[in-house]
């Protein structure tokens, strides 16, 4: 007998012709090195939890630096924390918690094949992340670093001396310059170790904000793939993994917020 074309052999074919009309998630075949789809899913999750442990230890290093410097220079940390507005931090915390909720909801929607609602939840998660980063940059980093505020900043309660960009930005004298290390330029610091506090503050929050941005990119990729029908009740691994990353970002902020903003 002539050799059978492996492409035609029904024993090794993984999809039936009729399935070609089904959405991609129904046609998803798990990798041949996995015994079942469930095991592939569990394997993906285990691998990602292993990665998450490395992320926790990354931020653990920053928390250790915080711990050491706060122990040695408590006055600098108290004075520095007084320069932070806890209200912005609290709003950001609520924003991230809401984003975690919408992310978890999107997984539920995928599990119950509610594709439209899943999309709404995924894009809402990205929007909340964007709100977090924008609040951080425009209400916290920009004023502290340079002294320039947004004109409509609700937390601005100082007199302003000049404006730029047609009145969009306004300048407060003697407010900016709160920068790490050698870049420090704030005139009214009373503790000589203030630059150290700002180093800890900026390194912790900037690395966290970078993770928020990375998470937004991951979730956007998952959302776009979802639009093409790649995820559904029997296969939503990508959504689950992106969700785990996002929840970790939220977890880190849950610890950063009281340590940085609520020292009294």
């Amino acid at each position: 007998m002539s050799t059978i074309d492996p492409g035609l052999d029904p024993t090794i074919r993984t999809r039936q012709p009729a399935d070609l009309a089904a959405p991609a998630w129904k046609r998803h075949a798990h990798g041949h090195h996995w015994r079942t789809q469930a095991e592939e899913f569990d394997g993906a999750k285990l691998g990602f939890w292993l990665f998450l442990t490395t992320e926790v230890l990354l931020f653990g290093g920053i928390f250790c630096a915080y711990f050491i410097f706060r122990t040695f220079y408590p006055a600098a940390f108290a004075e520095g924390s007084a320069a932070l507005d806890w209200r912005i931090g609290a709003i950001n915390t609520a924003v991230l918690l809401l984003s975690s909720y919408t992310m978890a909801c999107s997984i539920y929607c995928m599990q119950t094949n509610q594709q439209k609602r899943a999309q709404i939840n995924l894009w809402a998660t990205i929007a909340f992340g964007a709100v977090f980063v924008l609040l951080k940059f425009f209400l916290e980093y920009m004023p502290k670093w340079s002294g320039w505020f947004l004109a409509f900043d609700p937390f601005l309660h100082y007199e302003t001396t000049k404006s730029a960009y047609g009145g969009l930005l306004v300048y407060v004298e003697g407010y900016g310059g709160k920068r790490p290390g050698q870049l420090f330029d704030y005139p009214f610091a009373t503790d000589p170790n203030m630059p150290l506090w700002w180093s800890v503050y900026y390194s912790g929050t900037v690395i966290h904000a970078a993770h928020v941005l990375i998470g937004m990119v991951l979730i956007a990729r998952v959302a776009i793939k979802g639009l093409k029908g790649h995820y559904g009740p029997t296969y939503y691994t990508g959504v689950e993994i992106a969700g785990l990353y996002w929840h970790l970002v939220d977890l880190i902020w849950i610890f950063l917020f009281p340590l940085l903003y609520l020292i009294h």
Partner: protein, 237 residues
């Protein structure tokens, strides 16, 4: 004419869960890759957890503000670690909720939970041994506890001409504005502090209490900072 025996398709699998490994159908072609149903966490549970998390956030903020209030009006200064311990306890509860429900650790293979728990244990070891060192610095040699020179010597920092960074910034702006404008702006900036109750304007901040400062203090003097005895007194703790 004859080829390899056709394996039993998923027909024989319909009665069993697809998770059972069928050697005759390793790719689950017959069952179209269906996997066993995972636990589905419904939005009601998610909403409940969200409300609890938001409540705990408000609680953390409220307790921190209460500490400020107590210190201001009742003149009781709580030790610095009370704030940290309370805030961290609430943060741990929040993180356990997020991990168990949002990240679905509760419904997952226990190995994931064990992994994460071990990671936190490793982090605890990291912090614990650092702390062991930190809090026993002065036990043998006193000089190891205090700052050698407050703010450092500034040597090697070229942009400040050898002065400590904070002093260099102070002098730079004093020169730019002149003394009168400097004092006026300083008063305006510092006047928006956390003060409750009686005016604490002249006391320096400590770990227990951050205070707005008006007027000159001696903090930028190059005299040695008050150093701690072995119990941690004298550093403002």
């Amino acid at each position: 004419m004859s080829h390899a025996a056709t394996p039993a398709h998923g027909g024989s699998d319909h009665g069993t869960h697809a998770a059972a490994f069928n050697e005759l159908d390793p790719h689950g072609a017959g069952s179209h890759g269906q996997h066993e149903s995972h636990v589905i966490v419904v939005p009601f549970q998610l909403r409940t957890v969200l409300i609890i998390l938001l409540f705990f956030t408000a609680l953390t903020v409220g307790l921190a503000q209460a500490e400020v209030f107590i210190s201001g009006f009742l003149e009781i200064t709580l030790p610095w670690w009370v704030n940290v311990a309370v805030a961290m306890s609430i943060a741990v509860v929040k993180s356990v909720l997020v991990m168990a429900i949002f990240m679905q650790l509760r419904y997952d293979n226990p190995i994931n939970s064990i992994l994460m728990a071990f990671c936190f244990f490793a982090l605890f070891l990291f912090l614990f041994f650092s702390g062991l060192d930190l809090f026993s610095r002065g036990r043998i040699y006193d000089f190891k506890v205090a700052q050698v020179v407050p703010g450092g010597t500034g040597s090697g920092v070229t942009s400040t001409g050898g002065k400590p960074v904070v002093i260099a910034a102070h002098d730079r702006w004093m020169e730019a504005w002149g003394p009168e404008k400097f004092e006026r702006i300083k008063k305006d900036r510092k006047g928006h502090g956390h003060g409750y109750g009686k005016d604490h304007g002249q006391e320096a901040s400590s770990a227990n209490r951050s205070r707005p400062v008006v007027g000159a203090t001696g903090a930028l003097d190059t005299a040695a900072a008050p150093h701690a005895d072995e119990y941690g007194h004298g550093t403002g703790h």
